[in-house]
Amino acid sequence: MSANVRQMINEPIVLSRGVSPSALFTLFRMSVARLIRGRRSLVLILLFSLPLLTVVIAQMYAPRYDAADAARNVIFLFIPQTLLPLTALIFAAGMIQDEIEEQTLTYLLIRPIPRWLIYVTKLAATVVVTAVFTTVFTTLTYAVCYASDPRLKTEILPWVPLRASAVMIAALTAYVTVFALISVFTRRAVVVGIAYIVAFEGAVANIEFMIRQYTIIYQFRLISLRWLDIQISEWNLNPATAPALSDGVLNLALTIVVCMTIGAIAFSRREFRVKTPEGA
Protein backbone atom coordinates (compact mmCIF):
# COMPACT_ATOMS: atom_id res chain seq x y z
CA MET A 1 0.00 0.00 0.00
CA SER A 2 1.44 3.41 -0.90
CA ALA A 3 2.20 6.01 1.72
CA ASN A 4 -0.39 8.31 0.15
CA VAL A 5 -3.17 5.77 0.42
CA ARG A 6 -2.13 4.77 3.94
CA GLN A 7 -2.14 8.36 5.08
CA MET A 8 -5.46 9.00 3.37
CA ILE A 9 -7.15 6.07 5.13
CA ASN A 10 -6.11 7.31 8.55
CA GLU A 11 -6.71 10.94 7.75
CA PRO A 12 -9.34 11.68 5.08
CA ILE A 13 -8.13 14.03 2.39
CA VAL A 14 -9.34 17.60 2.41
CA LEU A 15 -10.95 18.41 -0.91
CA SER A 16 -10.08 21.64 -2.64
CA ARG A 17 -13.10 23.35 -4.21
CA GLY A 18 -11.00 25.52 -6.52
CA VAL A 19 -11.22 25.23 -10.30
CA SER A 20 -8.25 25.65 -12.60
CA PRO A 21 -8.66 28.38 -15.27
CA SER A 22 -6.47 26.19 -17.48
CA ALA A 23 -9.09 23.42 -17.22
CA LEU A 24 -11.88 25.79 -18.21
CA PHE A 25 -9.89 27.15 -21.12
CA THR A 26 -9.20 23.60 -22.33
CA LEU A 27 -12.89 22.74 -22.06
CA PHE A 28 -13.76 25.89 -23.99
CA ARG A 29 -11.22 25.05 -26.71
CA MET A 30 -12.46 21.45 -26.99
CA SER A 31 -16.05 22.64 -27.21
CA VAL A 32 -15.23 25.11 -29.99
CA ALA A 33 -13.31 22.43 -31.89
CA ARG A 34 -16.23 20.04 -31.63
CA LEU A 35 -18.76 22.66 -32.75
CA ILE A 36 -16.94 23.79 -35.86
CA ARG A 37 -16.21 20.29 -37.10
CA GLY A 38 -18.41 18.18 -39.29
CA ARG A 39 -21.57 18.90 -41.23
CA ARG A 40 -22.97 21.44 -38.81
CA SER A 41 -20.72 24.26 -40.05
CA LEU A 42 -21.32 23.29 -43.65
CA VAL A 43 -25.09 23.47 -43.18
CA LEU A 44 -24.70 26.86 -41.58
CA ILE A 45 -22.55 28.20 -44.41
CA LEU A 46 -25.16 26.98 -46.89
CA LEU A 47 -27.96 28.59 -44.88
CA PHE A 48 -26.19 31.93 -44.64
CA SER A 49 -25.37 31.75 -48.35
CA LEU A 50 -29.10 31.89 -49.13
CA PRO A 51 -29.55 35.61 -48.39
CA LEU A 52 -26.33 36.35 -50.25
CA LEU A 53 -27.61 34.48 -53.28
CA THR A 54 -30.95 36.27 -53.04
CA VAL A 55 -29.20 39.64 -53.07
CA VAL A 56 -27.03 38.69 -56.04
CA ILE A 57 -30.11 37.56 -58.00
CA ALA A 58 -31.90 40.78 -57.08
CA GLN A 59 -28.93 42.83 -58.27
CA MET A 60 -28.92 40.98 -61.59
CA TYR A 61 -32.64 40.87 -62.37
CA ALA A 62 -34.59 43.40 -60.24
CA PRO A 63 -35.72 46.36 -62.37
CA ARG A 64 -34.94 48.86 -59.61
CA TYR A 65 -32.41 47.58 -57.09
CA ASP A 66 -31.96 49.60 -53.89
CA ALA A 67 -29.01 48.58 -51.71
CA ALA A 68 -30.42 50.04 -48.49
CA ASP A 69 -33.77 48.27 -49.00
CA ALA A 70 -32.07 44.99 -49.80
CA ALA A 71 -29.81 45.22 -46.75
CA ARG A 72 -32.71 46.09 -44.46
CA ASN A 73 -34.94 43.30 -45.75
CA VAL A 74 -32.27 40.64 -45.64
CA ILE A 75 -30.44 41.66 -42.48
CA PHE A 76 -33.35 42.77 -40.32
CA LEU A 77 -36.13 40.55 -41.64
CA PHE A 78 -34.85 37.33 -43.14
CA ILE A 79 -31.76 36.64 -41.02
CA PRO A 80 -33.22 37.33 -37.56
CA GLN A 81 -36.54 35.67 -38.31
CA THR A 82 -35.14 32.44 -39.70
CA LEU A 83 -31.35 32.11 -39.73
CA LEU A 84 -30.58 33.36 -36.23
CA PRO A 85 -32.86 30.93 -34.37
CA LEU A 86 -31.88 28.09 -36.71
CA THR A 87 -28.18 28.79 -36.16
CA ALA A 88 -28.69 28.85 -32.41
CA LEU A 89 -30.74 25.66 -32.57
CA ILE A 90 -28.27 23.75 -34.73
CA PHE A 91 -25.37 24.53 -32.41
CA ALA A 92 -27.03 24.68 -28.99
CA ALA A 93 -29.04 21.48 -29.41
CA GLY A 94 -25.82 19.55 -29.99
CA MET A 95 -23.87 21.25 -27.24
CA ILE A 96 -24.61 18.52 -24.68
CA GLN A 97 -26.43 15.95 -26.80
CA ASP A 98 -23.40 15.33 -29.03
CA GLU A 99 -21.30 14.53 -25.98
CA ILE A 100 -24.01 12.15 -24.76
CA GLU A 101 -24.53 10.42 -28.08
CA GLU A 102 -20.81 10.04 -28.74
CA GLN A 103 -20.34 8.97 -25.12
CA THR A 104 -17.56 11.46 -24.50
CA LEU A 105 -19.40 13.31 -21.74
CA THR A 106 -17.87 10.89 -19.23
CA TYR A 107 -14.43 12.40 -19.86
CA LEU A 108 -15.77 15.78 -18.75
CA LEU A 109 -17.86 14.62 -15.81
CA ILE A 110 -14.95 12.81 -14.15
CA ARG A 111 -12.78 15.94 -14.02
CA PRO A 112 -12.50 18.34 -11.10
CA ILE A 113 -14.80 20.89 -12.69
CA PRO A 114 -18.28 21.59 -11.25
CA ARG A 115 -20.99 20.49 -13.61
CA TRP A 116 -22.63 23.90 -13.76
CA LEU A 117 -19.32 25.33 -14.91
CA ILE A 118 -19.02 22.65 -17.61
CA TYR A 119 -22.43 23.75 -18.84
CA VAL A 120 -21.64 27.46 -18.73
CA THR A 121 -18.28 26.99 -20.46
CA LYS A 122 -19.84 24.95 -23.24
CA LEU A 123 -22.57 27.56 -23.54
CA ALA A 124 -19.94 30.29 -23.86
CA ALA A 125 -18.16 28.30 -26.58
CA THR A 126 -21.45 27.91 -28.46
CA VAL A 127 -22.19 31.63 -28.24
CA VAL A 128 -18.69 32.55 -29.43
CA VAL A 129 -18.82 30.19 -32.42
CA THR A 130 -22.29 31.30 -33.52
CA ALA A 131 -21.40 34.95 -32.92
CA VAL A 132 -18.36 34.69 -35.19
CA PHE A 133 -20.46 33.05 -37.92
CA THR A 134 -23.13 35.73 -37.59
CA THR A 135 -20.69 38.64 -37.64
CA VAL A 136 -18.82 37.32 -40.67
CA PHE A 137 -21.97 36.65 -42.68
CA THR A 138 -23.67 39.90 -41.65
CA THR A 139 -20.64 41.87 -42.82
CA LEU A 140 -20.49 39.81 -46.01
CA THR A 141 -24.19 40.41 -46.64
CA TYR A 142 -23.74 44.17 -46.25
CA ALA A 143 -20.76 44.03 -48.60
CA VAL A 144 -22.75 42.15 -51.24
CA CYS A 145 -25.80 44.42 -50.85
CA TYR A 146 -23.67 47.52 -51.36
CA ALA A 147 -21.22 45.87 -53.76
CA SER A 148 -21.53 48.49 -56.49
CA ASP A 149 -22.42 51.35 -54.17
CA PRO A 150 -19.74 53.93 -53.24
CA ARG A 151 -21.32 54.25 -49.77
CA LEU A 152 -19.96 50.82 -48.88
CA LYS A 153 -16.53 52.19 -47.98
CA THR A 154 -17.56 55.61 -46.76
CA GLU A 155 -20.73 54.96 -44.75
CA ILE A 156 -21.23 51.25 -44.25
CA LEU A 157 -17.95 49.56 -43.36
CA PRO A 158 -17.06 48.76 -40.67
CA TRP A 159 -19.52 50.17 -38.12
CA VAL A 160 -22.93 49.48 -39.66
CA PRO A 161 -22.39 45.71 -39.95
CA LEU A 162 -20.77 45.61 -36.52
CA ARG A 163 -23.68 47.40 -34.84
CA ALA A 164 -26.17 45.16 -36.62
CA SER A 165 -24.10 42.12 -35.59
CA ALA A 166 -24.07 43.29 -31.98
CA VAL A 167 -27.88 43.31 -31.87
CA MET A 168 -27.99 39.93 -33.60
CA ILE A 169 -25.47 38.45 -31.16
CA ALA A 170 -27.59 39.63 -28.23
CA ALA A 171 -30.63 37.85 -29.70
CA LEU A 172 -28.52 34.87 -30.70
CA THR A 173 -27.19 34.48 -27.15
CA ALA A 174 -30.75 34.42 -25.85
CA TYR A 175 -31.71 31.81 -28.46
CA VAL A 176 -28.66 29.69 -27.58
CA THR A 177 -29.52 29.69 -23.87
CA VAL A 178 -33.14 28.73 -24.64
CA PHE A 179 -32.21 25.84 -26.95
CA ALA A 180 -29.38 24.64 -24.71
CA LEU A 181 -31.88 24.57 -21.85
CA ILE A 182 -34.29 22.51 -23.96
CA SER A 183 -31.47 20.10 -24.86
CA VAL A 184 -30.81 19.38 -21.18
CA PHE A 185 -34.36 18.13 -20.77
CA THR A 186 -35.03 16.28 -24.01
CA ARG A 187 -33.18 14.34 -26.66
CA ARG A 188 -35.57 15.80 -29.22
CA ALA A 189 -34.26 19.33 -28.76
CA VAL A 190 -34.22 19.98 -32.51
CA VAL A 191 -37.89 19.06 -32.96
CA VAL A 192 -38.96 21.02 -29.88
CA GLY A 193 -36.75 23.91 -30.97
CA ILE A 194 -38.26 24.07 -34.44
CA ALA A 195 -41.75 23.99 -32.94
CA TYR A 196 -40.72 26.86 -30.64
CA ILE A 197 -39.32 28.87 -33.56
CA VAL A 198 -42.37 28.38 -35.75
CA ALA A 199 -45.08 28.77 -33.11
CA PHE A 200 -43.63 31.26 -30.65
CA GLU A 201 -40.95 33.26 -32.41
CA GLY A 202 -42.73 33.04 -35.77
CA ALA A 203 -46.47 33.31 -35.20
CA VAL A 204 -46.82 34.90 -31.75
CA ALA A 205 -44.13 37.54 -32.32
CA ASN A 206 -46.04 38.93 -35.28
CA ILE A 207 -49.35 39.30 -33.49
CA GLU A 208 -49.83 42.72 -31.99
CA PHE A 209 -50.61 41.51 -28.51
CA MET A 210 -48.85 41.64 -25.18
CA ILE A 211 -47.52 38.10 -25.30
CA ARG A 212 -45.21 38.99 -28.20
CA GLN A 213 -43.12 40.96 -25.72
CA TYR A 214 -41.95 37.62 -24.37
CA THR A 215 -40.39 36.61 -27.67
CA ILE A 216 -36.74 37.11 -28.44
CA ILE A 217 -37.42 38.38 -31.94
CA TYR A 218 -39.56 41.20 -30.48
CA GLN A 219 -36.66 42.33 -28.29
CA PHE A 220 -34.38 42.19 -31.33
CA ARG A 221 -36.77 44.42 -33.28
CA LEU A 222 -37.15 46.79 -30.36
CA ILE A 223 -33.38 47.22 -29.93
CA SER A 224 -32.97 47.63 -33.71
CA LEU A 225 -35.65 50.30 -33.72
CA ARG A 226 -34.35 52.21 -30.72
CA TRP A 227 -30.60 51.85 -31.22
CA LEU A 228 -30.15 51.48 -34.99
CA ASP A 229 -33.27 53.43 -35.97
CA ILE A 230 -34.47 50.64 -38.22
CA GLN A 231 -38.18 50.79 -39.02
CA ILE A 232 -39.86 48.01 -40.93
CA SER A 233 -43.63 48.05 -41.44
CA GLU A 234 -43.95 44.25 -41.05
CA TRP A 235 -42.75 44.53 -37.45
CA ASN A 236 -45.90 46.42 -36.37
CA LEU A 237 -43.80 48.50 -34.00
CA ASN A 238 -44.90 52.07 -33.50
CA PRO A 239 -41.91 54.26 -32.52
CA ALA A 240 -44.24 56.52 -30.58
CA THR A 241 -45.54 53.78 -28.30
CA ALA A 242 -42.82 51.10 -28.38
CA PRO A 243 -40.92 50.48 -25.12
CA ALA A 244 -37.50 52.02 -24.49
CA LEU A 245 -34.16 50.56 -25.56
CA SER A 246 -33.35 49.65 -21.96
CA ASP A 247 -36.48 47.47 -21.82
CA GLY A 248 -35.32 45.42 -24.79
CA VAL A 249 -31.80 45.03 -23.43
CA LEU A 250 -33.05 44.15 -19.96
CA ASN A 251 -35.53 41.57 -21.26
CA LEU A 252 -32.89 39.85 -23.36
CA ALA A 253 -30.44 39.87 -20.45
CA LEU A 254 -33.12 38.44 -18.17
CA THR A 255 -33.92 35.67 -20.67
CA ILE A 256 -30.23 34.81 -20.93
CA VAL A 257 -29.61 34.78 -17.17
CA VAL A 258 -32.77 32.81 -16.31
CA CYS A 259 -32.32 30.18 -19.04
CA MET A 260 -28.61 29.80 -18.31
CA THR A 261 -29.20 29.42 -14.58
CA ILE A 262 -31.98 26.87 -14.97
CA GLY A 263 -29.92 24.98 -17.57
CA ALA A 264 -26.84 24.93 -15.36
CA ILE A 265 -28.79 23.73 -12.32
CA ALA A 266 -30.59 21.06 -14.33
CA PHE A 267 -27.32 19.90 -15.88
CA SER A 268 -25.75 19.68 -12.41
CA ARG A 269 -28.50 17.49 -11.07
CA ARG A 270 -29.16 15.28 -14.04
CA GLU A 271 -27.66 11.83 -14.39
CA PHE A 272 -26.15 11.00 -17.73
CA ARG A 273 -26.17 7.28 -18.35
CA VAL A 274 -23.72 6.13 -20.97
CA LYS A 275 -24.92 2.57 -20.98
CA THR A 276 -28.47 1.32 -20.70
CA PRO A 277 -28.80 -1.74 -18.53
CA GLU A 278 -30.04 -4.87 -20.21
CA GLY A 279 -33.77 -4.97 -20.41
CA ALA A 280 -34.22 -1.27 -19.71
Binding site: M8, I9, I13, T26, T106, L109, R269, P277, G279
Partner: protein
Amino acid sequence: MTNPLADSITDVSAKPDPGAIVEFDGVSKWYGHVIGVNNLNLKIPAGVTGLLGPNGAGKSTLLQLATGQLRPSQGTVKVLGHRAWNNFALNRYIGLCPEQDAFYEWMSGREFINACARLSGLSPRDANDATARVLDAVKMTEHANRPVKGYSKGMRQRTKIAQALVHDPLVLFLDEPLTGTDPVARRDLLDIIHRLGDEGRSILVSSHVLHEVQVVTPHIVLINRGRLVAVGNIRQIRDLIDNHPHRIILKSPEYRALAAKLVVCEDVVGVEIGRKNDTILVETNSPDRFYSRLSSLALSADSPIEEVYSEDDNLEAVFRYLVNS
Protein backbone atom coordinates in the same frame (compact mmCIF):
# COMPACT_ATOMS: atom_id res chain seq x y z
CA MET B 1 -26.53 -29.09 0.98
CA THR B 2 -23.70 -26.72 1.86
CA ASN B 3 -21.46 -25.08 -0.65
CA PRO B 4 -17.80 -25.21 0.39
CA LEU B 5 -16.98 -22.33 -1.92
CA ALA B 6 -19.62 -20.07 -0.47
CA ASP B 7 -18.45 -21.04 3.00
CA SER B 8 -14.86 -20.15 2.23
CA ILE B 9 -15.60 -16.76 0.75
CA THR B 10 -15.66 -13.76 3.03
CA ASP B 11 -19.08 -13.00 4.44
CA VAL B 12 -20.40 -10.01 2.57
CA SER B 13 -21.97 -8.60 5.69
CA ALA B 14 -18.66 -8.67 7.53
CA LYS B 15 -17.76 -5.80 9.83
CA PRO B 16 -16.74 -2.58 8.05
CA ASP B 17 -13.10 -2.30 7.23
CA PRO B 18 -11.78 1.00 8.57
CA GLY B 19 -9.30 1.08 5.71
CA ALA B 20 -11.95 1.05 2.98
CA ILE B 21 -11.19 3.18 -0.07
CA VAL B 22 -14.64 2.77 -1.59
CA GLU B 23 -17.75 2.19 0.53
CA PHE B 24 -21.23 1.23 -0.62
CA ASP B 25 -23.69 1.49 2.24
CA GLY B 26 -27.12 0.07 1.47
CA VAL B 27 -26.85 1.23 -2.11
CA SER B 28 -29.56 0.53 -4.65
CA LYS B 29 -29.87 1.96 -8.12
CA TRP B 30 -32.96 1.67 -10.28
CA TYR B 31 -33.38 2.60 -13.91
CA GLY B 32 -37.12 2.93 -14.01
CA HIS B 33 -38.32 -0.60 -13.29
CA VAL B 34 -34.93 -2.17 -13.97
CA ILE B 35 -32.62 -2.59 -11.04
CA GLY B 36 -28.94 -1.89 -11.60
CA VAL B 37 -27.63 -2.41 -8.08
CA ASN B 38 -29.67 -3.96 -5.28
CA ASN B 39 -29.04 -3.06 -1.62
CA LEU B 40 -25.27 -3.29 -1.87
CA ASN B 41 -23.11 -3.17 1.25
CA LEU B 42 -19.48 -3.33 0.30
CA LYS B 43 -16.14 -1.99 1.52
CA ILE B 44 -13.31 -2.11 -0.94
CA PRO B 45 -9.87 -1.91 0.68
CA ALA B 46 -6.73 -0.28 -0.66
CA GLY B 47 -4.88 -2.32 -3.27
CA VAL B 48 -6.11 -4.04 -6.40
CA THR B 49 -9.60 -5.54 -6.41
CA GLY B 50 -11.30 -7.38 -9.24
CA LEU B 51 -14.97 -6.72 -9.84
CA LEU B 52 -16.37 -9.78 -11.48
CA GLY B 53 -19.78 -10.51 -12.92
CA PRO B 54 -21.49 -11.49 -16.15
CA ASN B 55 -22.74 -8.90 -18.62
CA GLY B 56 -25.64 -6.96 -17.12
CA ALA B 57 -24.56 -7.83 -13.56
CA GLY B 58 -24.29 -4.17 -12.57
CA LYS B 59 -20.51 -3.71 -12.77
CA SER B 60 -20.65 -0.54 -14.86
CA THR B 61 -23.45 0.86 -12.69
CA LEU B 62 -21.33 0.21 -9.64
CA LEU B 63 -18.33 1.97 -11.18
CA GLN B 64 -20.46 4.89 -12.34
CA LEU B 65 -21.82 5.21 -8.81
CA ALA B 66 -18.29 5.15 -7.41
CA THR B 67 -17.08 7.80 -9.85
CA GLY B 68 -20.02 10.07 -9.03
CA GLN B 69 -21.71 9.88 -12.41
CA LEU B 70 -24.83 8.22 -11.05
CA ARG B 71 -26.79 9.15 -7.95
CA PRO B 72 -27.78 6.19 -5.77
CA SER B 73 -31.54 5.71 -5.62
CA GLN B 74 -30.96 4.62 -2.02
CA GLY B 75 -27.96 4.49 0.32
CA THR B 76 -24.62 6.25 0.12
CA VAL B 77 -21.44 5.77 -1.87
CA LYS B 78 -18.18 7.15 -0.51
CA VAL B 79 -14.75 7.22 -2.03
CA LEU B 80 -11.78 8.16 0.15
CA GLY B 81 -14.31 9.05 2.83
CA HIS B 82 -16.19 11.56 0.68
CA ARG B 83 -19.60 11.39 -0.98
CA ALA B 84 -19.12 10.29 -4.57
CA TRP B 85 -22.20 11.66 -6.36
CA ASN B 86 -21.50 14.90 -8.19
CA ASN B 87 -18.50 15.73 -6.00
CA PHE B 88 -16.21 17.44 -8.51
CA ALA B 89 -13.44 18.08 -6.00
CA LEU B 90 -13.09 14.33 -5.43
CA ASN B 91 -12.33 13.83 -9.10
CA ARG B 92 -8.79 15.10 -8.54
CA TYR B 93 -8.07 11.86 -6.70
CA ILE B 94 -9.81 9.32 -8.88
CA GLY B 95 -9.28 8.09 -12.43
CA LEU B 96 -11.73 6.21 -14.62
CA CYS B 97 -11.12 4.12 -17.69
CA PRO B 98 -14.69 3.89 -19.02
CA GLU B 99 -16.05 0.85 -20.80
CA GLN B 100 -17.35 2.69 -23.83
CA ASP B 101 -15.03 2.93 -26.82
CA ALA B 102 -15.50 6.69 -27.13
CA PHE B 103 -13.00 9.41 -27.93
CA TYR B 104 -12.74 12.86 -29.43
CA GLU B 105 -11.82 11.13 -32.66
CA TRP B 106 -10.27 14.14 -34.36
CA MET B 107 -7.56 14.41 -31.72
CA SER B 108 -4.28 12.56 -31.69
CA GLY B 109 -3.61 10.31 -28.71
CA ARG B 110 -1.23 12.90 -27.29
CA GLU B 111 -3.72 15.75 -27.71
CA PHE B 112 -6.46 13.71 -26.06
CA ILE B 113 -4.39 12.76 -23.03
CA ASN B 114 -2.98 16.26 -22.76
CA ALA B 115 -6.51 17.70 -22.86
CA CYS B 116 -7.55 15.29 -20.09
CA ALA B 117 -4.53 16.39 -18.04
CA ARG B 118 -5.45 20.04 -18.51
CA LEU B 119 -9.10 19.31 -17.66
CA SER B 120 -7.82 17.72 -14.46
CA GLY B 121 -6.25 21.02 -13.50
CA LEU B 122 -2.64 20.49 -14.48
CA SER B 123 -0.72 23.49 -15.77
CA PRO B 124 0.34 23.37 -19.44
CA ARG B 125 3.90 22.39 -18.55
CA ASP B 126 2.85 19.75 -16.00
CA ALA B 127 0.28 18.43 -18.47
CA ASN B 128 2.96 17.98 -21.13
CA ASP B 129 5.23 16.15 -18.68
CA ALA B 130 2.40 13.97 -17.37
CA THR B 131 1.26 13.15 -20.92
CA ALA B 132 4.75 12.02 -21.90
CA ARG B 133 5.01 9.95 -18.71
CA VAL B 134 1.72 8.07 -19.14
CA LEU B 135 2.21 7.57 -22.87
CA ASP B 136 5.47 5.89 -22.00
CA ALA B 137 3.80 3.87 -19.24
CA VAL B 138 1.20 2.45 -21.64
CA LYS B 139 3.74 2.08 -24.48
CA MET B 140 1.97 4.52 -26.78
CA THR B 141 4.70 7.12 -27.29
CA GLU B 142 5.42 5.88 -30.79
CA HIS B 143 1.80 6.27 -31.93
CA ALA B 144 0.91 9.31 -29.85
CA ASN B 145 0.83 11.82 -32.68
CA ARG B 146 -1.55 9.80 -34.86
CA PRO B 147 -5.29 10.57 -34.79
CA VAL B 148 -7.19 8.35 -32.36
CA LYS B 149 -9.64 7.34 -35.11
CA GLY B 150 -6.88 5.27 -36.73
CA TYR B 151 -6.03 3.34 -33.55
CA SER B 152 -6.54 -0.38 -33.10
CA LYS B 153 -8.71 -1.60 -30.24
CA GLY B 154 -5.67 -2.32 -28.08
CA MET B 155 -4.24 1.14 -28.71
CA ARG B 156 -7.56 2.74 -27.83
CA GLN B 157 -7.71 0.80 -24.57
CA ARG B 158 -4.17 1.88 -23.69
CA THR B 159 -5.10 5.48 -24.46
CA LYS B 160 -8.14 5.24 -22.20
CA ILE B 161 -5.98 3.90 -19.38
CA ALA B 162 -3.47 6.71 -19.99
CA GLN B 163 -6.13 9.41 -19.65
CA ALA B 164 -7.26 7.83 -16.38
CA LEU B 165 -3.69 7.96 -15.06
CA VAL B 166 -2.53 11.30 -16.33
CA HIS B 167 -3.42 13.29 -13.20
CA ASP B 168 -1.81 10.68 -10.96
CA PRO B 169 -4.98 9.61 -9.13
CA LEU B 170 -4.99 7.71 -5.83
CA VAL B 171 -7.82 5.42 -6.88
CA LEU B 172 -8.27 3.99 -10.35
CA PHE B 173 -11.47 2.48 -11.75
CA LEU B 174 -11.03 0.34 -14.85
CA ASP B 175 -14.25 -0.77 -16.53
CA GLU B 176 -13.68 -3.87 -18.70
CA PRO B 177 -10.27 -2.62 -19.87
CA LEU B 178 -9.50 -5.75 -21.89
CA THR B 179 -12.71 -6.07 -23.89
CA GLY B 180 -12.14 -6.83 -27.55
CA THR B 181 -8.37 -6.63 -27.45
CA ASP B 182 -6.01 -9.03 -29.19
CA PRO B 183 -3.92 -11.39 -27.04
CA VAL B 184 -0.75 -9.31 -27.29
CA ALA B 185 -2.52 -6.12 -26.27
CA ARG B 186 -4.28 -8.06 -23.55
CA ARG B 187 -0.99 -9.26 -22.11
CA ASP B 188 0.47 -5.75 -22.26
CA LEU B 189 -2.60 -4.21 -20.60
CA LEU B 190 -2.50 -6.80 -17.84
CA ASP B 191 1.18 -6.00 -17.32
CA ILE B 192 0.31 -2.32 -17.04
CA ILE B 193 -2.45 -2.96 -14.48
CA HIS B 194 -0.15 -5.27 -12.56
CA ARG B 195 2.57 -2.63 -12.51
CA LEU B 196 0.16 0.06 -11.35
CA GLY B 197 -0.88 -2.21 -8.51
CA ASP B 198 2.76 -2.79 -7.60
CA GLU B 199 3.26 0.98 -7.51
CA GLY B 200 0.75 1.05 -4.67
CA ARG B 201 -2.31 2.43 -6.43
CA SER B 202 -5.75 1.32 -5.39
CA ILE B 203 -7.47 -0.14 -8.42
CA LEU B 204 -10.93 -1.55 -8.96
CA VAL B 205 -10.91 -3.44 -12.25
CA SER B 206 -14.10 -4.91 -13.65
CA SER B 207 -14.37 -7.86 -15.98
CA HIS B 208 -16.69 -10.68 -16.88
CA VAL B 209 -13.72 -12.98 -17.43
CA LEU B 210 -12.27 -14.52 -14.30
CA HIS B 211 -8.99 -15.42 -15.96
CA GLU B 212 -8.30 -11.81 -16.77
CA VAL B 213 -8.82 -10.67 -13.22
CA GLN B 214 -6.82 -13.40 -11.54
CA VAL B 215 -3.66 -12.21 -13.29
CA VAL B 216 -3.77 -8.87 -11.51
CA THR B 217 -5.27 -9.64 -8.12
CA PRO B 218 -6.37 -12.49 -5.88
CA HIS B 219 -8.99 -10.28 -4.25
CA ILE B 220 -12.33 -10.23 -6.01
CA VAL B 221 -15.85 -8.96 -5.61
CA LEU B 222 -18.52 -11.04 -7.29
CA ILE B 223 -21.79 -9.45 -8.30
CA ASN B 224 -24.72 -10.74 -10.29
CA ARG B 225 -28.02 -9.10 -11.20
CA GLY B 226 -27.16 -6.10 -9.10
CA ARG B 227 -26.54 -8.11 -5.97
CA LEU B 228 -23.31 -8.81 -4.17
CA VAL B 229 -22.67 -12.52 -4.38
CA ALA B 230 -19.36 -12.82 -2.55
CA VAL B 231 -16.12 -11.11 -1.66
CA GLY B 232 -12.96 -13.07 -1.24
CA ASN B 233 -10.02 -14.90 -2.69
CA ILE B 234 -10.06 -15.84 -6.33
CA ARG B 235 -8.65 -19.33 -5.89
CA GLN B 236 -11.86 -20.94 -4.72
CA ILE B 237 -13.88 -19.34 -7.49
CA ARG B 238 -11.40 -20.44 -10.10
CA ASP B 239 -11.46 -24.03 -8.95
CA LEU B 240 -15.18 -24.08 -9.38
CA ILE B 241 -15.08 -22.43 -12.78
CA ASP B 242 -12.56 -24.93 -14.04
CA ASN B 243 -15.15 -27.66 -13.50
CA HIS B 244 -17.21 -26.06 -16.22
CA PRO B 245 -15.98 -26.16 -19.84
CA HIS B 246 -14.79 -22.66 -20.69
CA ARG B 247 -15.98 -21.18 -23.99
CA ILE B 248 -13.78 -18.70 -25.79
CA ILE B 249 -14.40 -16.95 -29.10
CA LEU B 250 -11.41 -16.13 -31.29
CA LYS B 251 -11.54 -13.85 -34.32
CA SER B 252 -9.00 -14.46 -37.06
CA PRO B 253 -8.83 -13.97 -40.84
CA GLU B 254 -7.21 -17.44 -40.93
CA TYR B 255 -9.77 -19.04 -38.69
CA ARG B 256 -9.58 -22.44 -40.37
CA ALA B 257 -5.81 -22.66 -39.88
CA LEU B 258 -6.24 -21.51 -36.29
CA ALA B 259 -8.96 -24.11 -35.67
CA ALA B 260 -6.73 -26.83 -37.09
CA LYS B 261 -3.95 -25.86 -34.68
CA LEU B 262 -6.23 -25.75 -31.67
CA VAL B 263 -8.16 -28.94 -32.28
CA VAL B 264 -5.10 -31.08 -31.55
CA CYS B 265 -4.44 -29.47 -28.17
CA GLU B 266 -5.16 -31.73 -25.21
CA ASP B 267 -7.01 -29.11 -23.22
CA VAL B 268 -9.30 -28.18 -26.11
CA VAL B 269 -12.48 -30.23 -25.96
CA GLY B 270 -14.30 -28.66 -28.88
CA VAL B 271 -13.88 -26.23 -31.78
CA GLU B 272 -16.77 -24.78 -33.78
CA ILE B 273 -16.83 -22.30 -36.64
CA GLY B 274 -18.72 -19.25 -35.47
CA ARG B 275 -21.81 -17.74 -37.01
CA LYS B 276 -19.63 -15.03 -38.44
CA ASN B 277 -17.15 -16.68 -40.75
CA ASP B 278 -14.03 -15.22 -39.20
CA THR B 279 -14.67 -16.50 -35.68
CA ILE B 280 -14.27 -19.84 -33.97
CA LEU B 281 -15.74 -21.00 -30.69
CA VAL B 282 -13.33 -23.03 -28.57
CA GLU B 283 -14.24 -25.09 -25.52
CA THR B 284 -11.45 -25.84 -23.09
CA ASN B 285 -11.31 -27.58 -19.75
CA SER B 286 -8.06 -25.87 -18.84
CA PRO B 287 -8.43 -22.13 -19.44
CA ASP B 288 -5.07 -21.34 -17.82
CA ARG B 289 -3.14 -23.45 -20.28
CA PHE B 290 -5.24 -22.21 -23.15
CA TYR B 291 -4.74 -18.52 -22.37
CA SER B 292 -1.01 -18.98 -21.83
CA ARG B 293 -0.75 -20.46 -25.33
CA LEU B 294 -2.73 -17.68 -27.02
CA SER B 295 0.01 -15.04 -27.16
CA SER B 296 2.38 -17.23 -29.13
CA LEU B 297 -0.43 -18.38 -31.41
CA ALA B 298 -1.45 -14.80 -32.09
CA LEU B 299 2.03 -13.91 -33.22
CA SER B 300 2.34 -16.74 -35.76
CA ALA B 301 1.86 -15.53 -39.32
CA ASP B 302 -0.51 -18.28 -40.51
CA SER B 303 -3.00 -17.93 -37.66
CA PRO B 304 -3.13 -14.34 -36.44
CA ILE B 305 -5.73 -13.62 -33.75
CA GLU B 306 -7.48 -10.28 -33.92
CA GLU B 307 -9.81 -10.50 -30.96
CA VAL B 308 -10.56 -12.76 -28.03
CA TYR B 309 -13.86 -12.92 -26.21
CA SER B 310 -14.86 -15.17 -23.41
CA GLU B 311 -18.46 -16.23 -23.21
CA ASP B 312 -19.68 -15.73 -19.71
CA ASP B 313 -22.27 -18.49 -19.70
CA ASN B 314 -19.98 -20.54 -17.54
CA LEU B 315 -19.49 -17.71 -15.12
CA GLU B 316 -23.24 -17.24 -15.04
CA ALA B 317 -23.53 -20.90 -14.07
CA VAL B 318 -21.11 -20.34 -11.22
CA PHE B 319 -23.06 -17.32 -10.07
CA ARG B 320 -26.29 -19.28 -10.16
CA TYR B 321 -24.59 -21.99 -8.12
CA LEU B 322 -23.35 -19.48 -5.57
CA VAL B 323 -26.61 -17.62 -5.32
CA ASN B 324 -28.72 -20.75 -5.06
CA SER B 325 -26.53 -22.22 -2.38
